[in-house]
């Protein structure tokens, strides 16, 4: 299944892109997606919250085909 991921804030710098797509097996969880992302990029540079289809979720949340995932680091500037 296709999963659309948007990186916000510093994570777009870490990954070098604002948006990309992942191909995962059916029934995978957010934690599976994060594992794949974290094995590709140095994500430890910024903590982040995760939303799926515009809702903040835990990493145990199940993904469905065409889920819109956003990785949201806390912004500190002001």
């Amino acid at each position: 299944m296709k999963i659309h991921v948007t990186y916000f804030g510093k994570l777009a710098d870490v990954t070098g892109t604002k948006r990309e797509e992942f191909e995962l097996d059916e029934g995978r969880l957010v934690s599976d997606l994060l594992h794949e992302i974290e094995s590709t990029y140095p994500m430890e540079q910024a903590p982040y919250a995760v939303s799926v289809n515009h809702r903040i979720v835990e990493s145990s949340h199940s993904l469905v085909s065409n889920s819109e995932v956003a990785l949201l680091p806390p912004f500190s500037g002001g």
Binding site: Q45, A49, H54, I56, P74, G77, G78
Partner: protein, 362 residues
């Protein structure tokens, strides 16, 4: 009651059916705390002052610098080096003489926050670091105060109204402050129009709340990218452990089991940089120089201190300071043994060490 002059001043707002005289009076009777008088705080304060919010309490420990001027529009070039809250207070009073502007030249922490926020209707988080943002969250959660949240990373912004009507708080999105390097505007860079726009949106959300209108941000994290124009509203569910995390951080201030008898000037600076609430007491005689000019240092000569123990903070670390760190160590022993004031510690090397390390107390 609004005066005739105020009726004329606010007539464009009053003529809106949803506001009227009663709405304008609500604003006049409201107290809003603005924490951080930088890129977000300046436009937010300017709009709230113009709109007639009766009491604005401005909190910022910093002074105006030349790098602030492109986006912090309450300040002028001649204000460089002056405390931001004083300059902002002057500018806002000139804009609207019908208001009460209060200034607090301190860092906002879990130690001093409750006293700053307690009697306010609303808090605006216009700070520029996560330490302050968690402190604002935890103080507001402990006092059940709503707060408008706004934060930036380069061209992107996050906004919400937290802790409103039993709604979610900051820790429902970001449960714990993690130890990573932060990217505030001085590190990440910022275009002047972005904080100005976001500060304006925060002021709008504040007015919506004060007027009793329904919030479109409570329960949501709104994210706007001012580079490509995209935006998202992400639903935030209230998390059952967010309250206990906030309260635990508030209470954590009271735990001093690991506080050593002496700390170094570096340690003190680190606490201050981390935004930790610390009470500093200079126990030298008044004629001893150099004096510490920081507003955060309380002067109580050694012989007077036993008579003024009520001035000591119950929960924050109390750092006792003398000229070379000898008398302060004696005083720390005395406070701990005689009066069971376990949150006292002595500054090693005293003022001499501060001067040697060129620690700025200005």
């Amino acid at each position: 009651m609004l005066s005739e002059k105020e009726h004329i001043r606010y007539s464009r707002q009053i003529q809106l059916e949803e506001i009227g005289v009663s709405g304008q009076e609500k604003l006049a009777q409201s107290t809003v705390v603005i924490i951080g008088m930088g890129g977000l705080g300046c436009p937010a304060a300017q709009i709230l002052a113009g709109a007639g919010v009766g009491t604005l309490r401005l909190v910022d420990f910093d002074v105006v610098s030349v790098q602030n001027l492109p986006r912090q529009t309450l300040y002028r070039t001649s204000d460089i080096g002056q405390p931001k809250v004083d300059c902002a207070s002057q500018a806002l009073s000139a804009l609207n003489p019908h208001l009460t502007i209060e200034t607090i030249t301190e860092r906002f922490t879990t130690g001093n926050g409750a006293d700053i926020v307690r009697d306010a209707d609303l808090v605006i988080d216009a700070s520029d670091n996560l330490q302050a943002r968690y402190a604002i969250n935890d103080v507001c959660v402990s006092l059940n105060k709503p707060w408008v949240f706004g934060a930036l990373y380069q061209f992107q912004a996050q906004l919400s109204l937290f802790n409103h009507n039993n709604g979610p708080s900051y820790r429902c999105v970001f449960p714990e402050k993690e130890a990573t390097i932060e990217d505030n505007c001085s590190i990440a860079g910022v275009l002047a129009s972005v904080p100005f726009t976001v500060g304006g949106m925060m002021a709008h959300e504040a007015l919506i709340y004060l007027l009793g209108f329904e919030s479109s941000l409570s329960g949501w994290l709104y994210i706007k990218d001012f580079r490509d124009g995209s935006e998202q509203k992400v639903a935030v569910q209230k998390q059952s452990d967010a309250f206990s995390k906030a309260m635990s951080n508030m209470n954590g201030q009271k735990n001093h089991s690991e506080l050593p008898m002496e700390i170094s000037t570096d340690q003190l600076q680190q606490w201050i940089a981390e935004g930790r609430s610390v009470q500093q007491i200079d126990i030298r005689e008044l004629w001893e120089t150099p004096r510490l000019s920081s507003l955060e240092v309380l002067t109580i000569p050694m012989n007077d201190l036993p008579l003024q123990l009520d001035k000591l903070e119950k929960s924050d670390p109390i750092v006792i300071i003398c000229q070379h760190g000898m008398r302060s160590l004696d005083m720390t022993h005395y406070l701990r043994e005689k009066h069971h004031i376990k949150n006292a510690t002595s500054l090693r090397g005293g003022v001499a060490a501060i001067t040697q390390n060129s620690v700025s107390y200005e």
